[in-house]
């Protein structure tokens, strides 16, 4: 975009700060939309602004946010992970199998402790992430294709584990079966549910990795300019591998939480979760081209998606309109992202000449 001289009027404090305010609103759009939605739903839906609903709402947001946190790293490197929904389903089925059928050692089945079942399920799910990472970074398969492939493979594996059936009673009512699995998704601590705490812990880790560690800087560098990153001595394949494994870890946790909430593992769990996660990341403002965005933004994006879908359900808006509204919100988010880029480019000289640094 060419910068016309007309745009750079004699600089005055007023226009400069107006532009600054506009840019701030555009940048914080996810937060603005979130606040607007909260106000709107509190006004329209009588039970929306209650402690009871807050617990439920945060739990739903946590599921979307956990997936979005993992997805953010992948997207920051310029990749995408379509397999997260299937990995969630696979993790749930694995834990369902281990809790109800156990592992057969020497002919007789042994039910392992719940913690062991959970850890094994996570470990096996991480294999999908490793496979994704290897395919993308070493085998040179485009991320979209590689993870589309593992989407089908993981879903098929989930269906194969039980031959399409549901593993029931994961709460452990059957005799001899270990109990305690429902705690993962159903217990409350200081008024917040376990999934929310899981999300917060993951979020803290993700923020520390992104901001404070070399790995975090490398992730941004790979997304910004992969060739330059490689020339600068960054081990690009390893960085990419990490992001896909992180996404799988988040997906596996979501699968386990859902299986724990339902006290049953269904092989179709998590279908189209990947799209929700991508939507949350994009809503937050992370660029699908990589290199730009943050975990915090994705969390806000996940909040918008979660609040929107819960609020619309509580209002009784028809399912079909819910889909239209959700799609519109996603498109708008990206359109505003473009607007922000243009405003920034256009008024950059003004901001610079006002003598207060860049727009960033």
């Amino acid at each position: 975009m060419t910068i016309t001289t007309a745009a750079v009027r004699p600089s005055s404090r007023f226009t400069s700060s107006a532009v600054r305010a506009l840019l701030f609103v555009l940048k914080a759009r996810a937060l603005v939309v979130l606040v607007a939605l909260l106000v709107l739903f509190s006004w329209l839906a009588p039970a929306f602004l209650t402690a009871n609903n807050f617990q439920i709402l945060t739990k739903h947001v946590a599921i979307a946010a956990i997936l979005a946190i993992g997805m953010t790293f992948v997207v920051l490197t310029g990749g995408i992970d379509l397999s997260v929904g299937s990995v969630a389903g696979l993790a749930g089925m694995l834990v369902g199998y281990l809790l109800t059928r156990g592992i057969s050692l020497g002919g007789s089945p042994h039910i392992l402790p719940v913690t062991a079942c959970v850890l094994i399920a996570i470990a096996v799910s991480l294999l999908v992430g490793l496979l994704n990472g290897w395919l993308v970074s070493k085998a040179g398969v485009a991320p979209f294709i590689a993870t589309l492939g593992t989407l089908y493979v993981a879903r098929g594996a989930a269906l194969l584990i039980s031959n399409g059936k549901t593993f029931p009673n994961l709460g452990g009512v059957a005799a001899g079966q270990k109990t305690g699995f429902p705690a993962l998704g159903q217990t409350f601590f200081l008024g917040l549910s376990m999934p929310v705490w899981t999300m917060l812990v993951l979020f803290a880790f993700a923020v520390i990795i992104a901001r404070k560690t070399p790995l975090g800087r490398h992730i941004y560098a790979v997304g910004g300019n992969e060739r330059a990153a490689r020339l600068a001595g960054i081990r690009v394949p390893l960085v990419k591998l990490f992001t896909y494994v992180a996404a799988s870890l988040c997906a596996a946790l979501v699968g386990l939480i859902i299986a724990s909430q339902l006290e049953a593992a269904h092989p179709a769990t998590g279908e189209s979760f990947e799209l929700n996660a991508i939507a949350a990341v994009v809503l937050g403002g992370t660029s699908l081209m990589g290199g730009r965005g943050s975990v915090t933004d994705s969390l806000l994006g996940a909040c918008v998606i979660g609040v929107l879908s819960d609020g619309l359900v509580m209002l009784g808006v028809s399912q079909f309109w819910q889909m239209v509204i959700k799609g519109t919100v996603i498109i708008l988010a990206v359109a505003i992202d473009q607007l922000q880029t243009r405003v920034q480019a256009r008024f950059l000289p003004l901001l610079l000449s006002a003598g207060a640094g860049g727009a960033e």
Binding site: L40, G171, V317, L332
Partner: protein
């Protein structure tokens, strides 16, 4: 930039227009109806019937759909609890995977009334009102045998999704009748996952493989209609096709003489019963009925096709 701004304001207006007209009247008690989907005629008829009855009895109604996704159903139950619903009418997302959600609603003192599909636990839901799939498949199979005549014949069976309880119940009902006739022979059986396009493709292939087919028995009407399309495109005549469900499209095809018969699931009747029992329970604390209630299906053939409309016997 102007385009973006216009797009934004138009979308914001649309959003406010849609949501603003949904501000509910809180003086009435809320009944939440949760069905598998709203784009399937069966579930739509069921949801509409429940909603209409509940409104007539003075309730506020909200209809949600879980898309056969147990997690989405879980969220919808949560939303119903948060909205302080008086009762939940639920066509559930899986006999095993729905137990925890129904339990949670019941613990939140919201009575649940299950329709169309059962859960594998009794004593939690206030009612489980379901169509008699076994009896329905028996009457369809008996009519099928009658139509084939005393000389019998070869038939193809299209099964529903194998993991689905109703698919198993229906096929065993069919076989309880058909297997007693040595002259009626099953030459092929395939699952078409309840889907019309899958039934179409599988039937086309089966018709290529077998030249002597006298009938096709499908686990639901959608698959029967898919099979019908395949039979028509193959140009073969004299093949009887029967389905299950009593969908409006199938009833129309029966009226036209394209399909032989179907078993109509009384979805509308069941939905109304559930609302009536919910109302009774909310007023008196008891439904006055046993938890499990099994409602018989109705056989629809060409001569009485006009008696049925939208999953309901109207005459």
């Amino acid at each position: 930039m102007r385009a973006v701004r216009r797009l934004c304001s138009a979308a914001a207006l649309l959003f406010f227009a849609i949501t603003a007209c949904h501000r509910p009247d809180t003086s009435k008690k809320l009944i939440v109806v949760i069905v598998p989907s709203q784009d399937n005629p069966f579930f739509k008829a069921e949801a509409d019937a429940a909603a209409a009855r509940a409104r007539a009895l003075g309730y506020r109604v909200r209809v949600d759909a879980h898309d056969d996704d147990a997690y989405r159903q879980d969220n919808l139950i949560d939303a119903a609890i948060a909205s302080d619903a008086a009762a939940i009418i639920l066509d559930n997302a899986g006999a095993d995977s729905s137990v925890a959600a129904v339990q949670r609603a019941t613990e939140a003192r919201i009575p649940c009334f299950l329709i169309d599909r059962e859960i594998n636990t009794t004593g939690i839901a206030k009612a489980q009102i379901i169509a008699d799939n076994h009896q329905g498949s028996v009457i369809v199979a008996e009519d099928f045998v009658t139509a084939l005549g005393p000389s019998g014949g070869n038939y193809v069976e299209l099964l529903g999704r194998e993991s689905d309880t109703n698919a198993q119940v229906r096929t065993s009902g069919f076989h309880s009748v058909l297997d007693r006739r040595p002259s009626v022979v099953r030459v092929a059986a395939q699952s078409a996952n309840w889907s019309q396009s899958e039934a179409f493709e599988k039937t086309e292939t089966i018709l290529q493989a077998h030249r002597d087919i006298n009938g096709i028995l499908a686990g639901n009407d959608t698959m029967a209609l898919g099979a019908l399309a395949a039979v028509k495109s193959s140009g073969r005549g004299g093949i009887l096709i029967s389905g299950f469900d009593g969908s409006p499209d199938a009833v129309a095809a029966i009226r036209a003489g394209d399909l032989r018969a179907t078993a109509l699931q009384p979805a509308v009747l069941i939905a109304r019963l559930a609302i009536d029992e919910a109302d009774e329970f909310l007023r008196t604390g008891s439904t006055q009925k046993p938890e499990r209630q099994i409602i018989p299906c109705e056989l629809v053939t060409q001569k009485d096709a006009d008696d049925f409309q939208d999953f309901e016997k109207i005459r």
